[in-house]
């Protein structure tokens, strides 16, 4: 095997270690592609990207690794100035000096690498103040790699003072991808704000998926009128059965979200996500709780509760269940799906799981979304297993992606 082939294999290995899924067939494609496109740096990069990277969200990882791996010999970049703990030492390796295999000491979880924002070196184009992940792949592409642009027309140099334009959509996808997978447990206000920003596209996707799911469930009884009509085309043979579109089986949603310290981020995000898809439910009543129940509403994107809640009170879900039970006549019926978001930590107060059992009898389903790691379920003051016995499903929703999936199950 040629040394370039080995280099490519190493490169694929590194991509896999960084979490990109690449099949053997794709690796072969990549080798054929490089054989066709040549080893001129910019072309090889695009050839590898087209064959190995099938999801735009993986592009930041690819760009980072490619730059580090196939750096031209002339260009000396200080890659040690990375996020601490990202990766420590990568020896210079390039297509020009094969045989030199890269020593890696890279941790497998580098979901979103940052390029260093160091000042521009003389003779080195392109460096902007925008954060690395927002910098575009296109921007990267137009970088003339010193001494490498052999015989190929160079891109026109950018006009002085014009900021490099990041790939707007690519940046958005990468941000959404990263925040979707960040566990709620690691959220601070910063992540929460990022998640709020990402919620727009996420909510649109959720609406589309929910709508599609509901439509898919529509196929109902045979529609005789339309079947007979269709059969005329077939000379009267009923070869083509037509079905009556079943009326969308919309549910009444009663949402109960814990907004105490530990789970407030996931709860607010869930309420906001559901608020964006109201049209797909027959009726939605949203409540939040800490130690008492309060109706929740969104005004200009801010959560408003009536009556006001003391967010620093000690959680008491048992009491909340009691309050809900008193309003059962108004809220719960056979079409209701009760969705609860919380960690089931009750400060060792009475769990009142018996009330939940009664409610489950009244409703179509009771679904509990839990943001906690499974290892922590049932530990300490968690009463989650007591509740879990009485409900239809306990769904893990540790990050935005899992939450969306869990909410799709609900409808």
């Amino acid at each position: 095997m040629s040394t370039l082939g080995e280099q490519l294999l190493h490169f694929v290995e590194r991509l896999r270690a960084a979490g990109v899924r690449i099949s053997v067939a794709e690796t072969l494609d990549a080798m054929n592609a490089v054989a066709l496109a040549g080893i001129e740096m910019a072309r090889m990069r695009e050839a590898l990207s087209a064959t190995l990277i099938k999801d735009e969200a993986d592009h930041p990882v690819f760009d980072e690794l490619f730059t580090a791996f196939f750096r031209p010999p002339g260009e000396k970049r200080d890659i040690s100035r990375k996020r601490p703990g990202d990766r420590t030492s990568i020896s210079p390796a390039s297509a020009r000096s094969p045989g030199e295999s890269p020593e890696t000491s890279q941790s497998p979880e580098t979901p979103e690498p940052h390029r260093s924002d160091k000042p521009r070196k003389p003779g080195e184009e392109r460096k902007s103040k925008t954060p690395a992940k927002e910098r575009s792949a296109e921007d990267e592409r137009t970088t003339p790699h010193s001494g490498e642009a052999t015989g190929l027309r160079k891109e026109e140099p950018r006009a002085a003072g014009e900021e490099p334009t990041p790939g707007i959509e690519a940046g958005r996808i990468a941000r959404l991808h990263a925040i979707e997978r960040t566990p709620f447990a690691r959220y601070s206000d910063l992540e929460y704000e990022q998640a709020r920003e990402a919620l727009g596209p996420l909510a649109r996707r959720y609406r589309v998926r929910l709508g599609r799911r509901l439509r898919a469930a529509k196929a109902g009884r045979v529609d005789f009128r339309r079947t007979i009509r269709a059969s005329i085309q077939r000379g009267g043979a009923f070869s083509d059965l037509r079905f009556r579109a079943r009326r969308p089986r919309r549910v009444d949603l009663v949402v109960l979200a814990d907004v105490s310290g530990s789970v407030r981020y996931s709860s607010t995000l869930m309420l906001e996500l559901i608020a964006g898809a109201l049209a797909h439910f027959r009726r939605v009543r949203s409540f939040v709780y800490v130690d008492r129940l309060a109706e929740a509403d969104f005004e200009d994107g801010h959560l408003v509760t009536t009556p006001a809640l003391d967010l620093y009170a000690r959680s008491d879900f048992g009491r909340v269940l009691g309050e809900l039970w008193e309003r059962r006549g108004e809220l719960l019926n056979r079409a209701t799906v009760l969705v609860i978001m919380g960690d089931g930590r009750n400060n060792r107060r009475p769990a009142r799981a018996d009330l939940l059992r009664e409610m489950a009898r009244l409703c179509r389903a009771v679904v509990w979304l839990i943001p906690e790691e499974p290892e922590r379920w049932g530990t300490g003051d968690s009463a989650i297993f007591q509740y879990a016995r009485e409900i239809s499903a306990l769904l893990r929703s540790g990050n935005l992606r899992e939450m969306e999936k869990a909410l799709l199950e609900v409808a």
Binding site: A37, A50, T51, H59, D139, E155, Q233
Partner: protein, 291 residues
Amino acid sequence: MQKIDQQFVSEGLKRARYITNERIETAIYLALALEKPLLIEGPAGSGKTEVAKVLAEMLQTELIRLQCYEGLDEARALYEWNYQKQLLRLQADEHRGLGWNEISEHLFSREYLLERPLLKAVAAHRKVVLLIDEIDKADEEFEAFLLELLSDFQVSIPELGTIRAVERPVVVLTSNRTRELSEALRRRCLHLFIDFPGIEQERRIIELKVPDLDARLAAEAARFVNALRKLGLKKPPSVAESLDWARALVRLGVSELNTDAVRATLGVLLKHEDDREKAEGKVAALVRRSG
């Protein structure tokens, strides 16, 4: 058939007046050279479908388009028997006293077959470009069916036998990401993500497609549209919309970008009321920065 090399691709793209970059050129070249389907993703209006059209123009061949939608099935995508015509034939044959064997021989011939886009592409006598547009809108079952077709380009029709492609068609799939495509499909395709063009690229596109627009104004327009896309709108303006806008500016005889001219024409770029409200307040600042 021309020899396909990188020069052929870059010149062909230039001839077809498609402003492109290294990434798009390389992906198109590889799709042609490796004979693999090309999956193109990217925001609406960034020129995904255009790639297929340009490819057809470049190869001087036919473009066969399959527009995907929910509920698209084999009968609409692959082939269907023309029942009406078969019935007429049956009625016409009735009085001639033919046996079933003779009748069925005619009834199930190519004459009574309605070729849908996929079969058309496979059965074509020369290399064609097959565009499978918005594959994310089709159902997952259809995607699975497509996988089979894309791997060996042959179609089995029980009554007729297997039809194999003489020349593998060039396949372009586009997706708007309303649903995640399956890993299997992604693995079989080359992947290309076309983002909104950068300022410089967009300026060149505007200059090429709207030559009546003053060059300075074209640059300003490109910067303005780019800034607009960064506002986080519901539906950021597409390239087609910025071209429409450039044409509108020409028609209105606008000689320099100012707040009034932009406000009057904002409807060409933004189609959502929320987006317009969001952008209107920032028009003055954006214009100042674009000038």
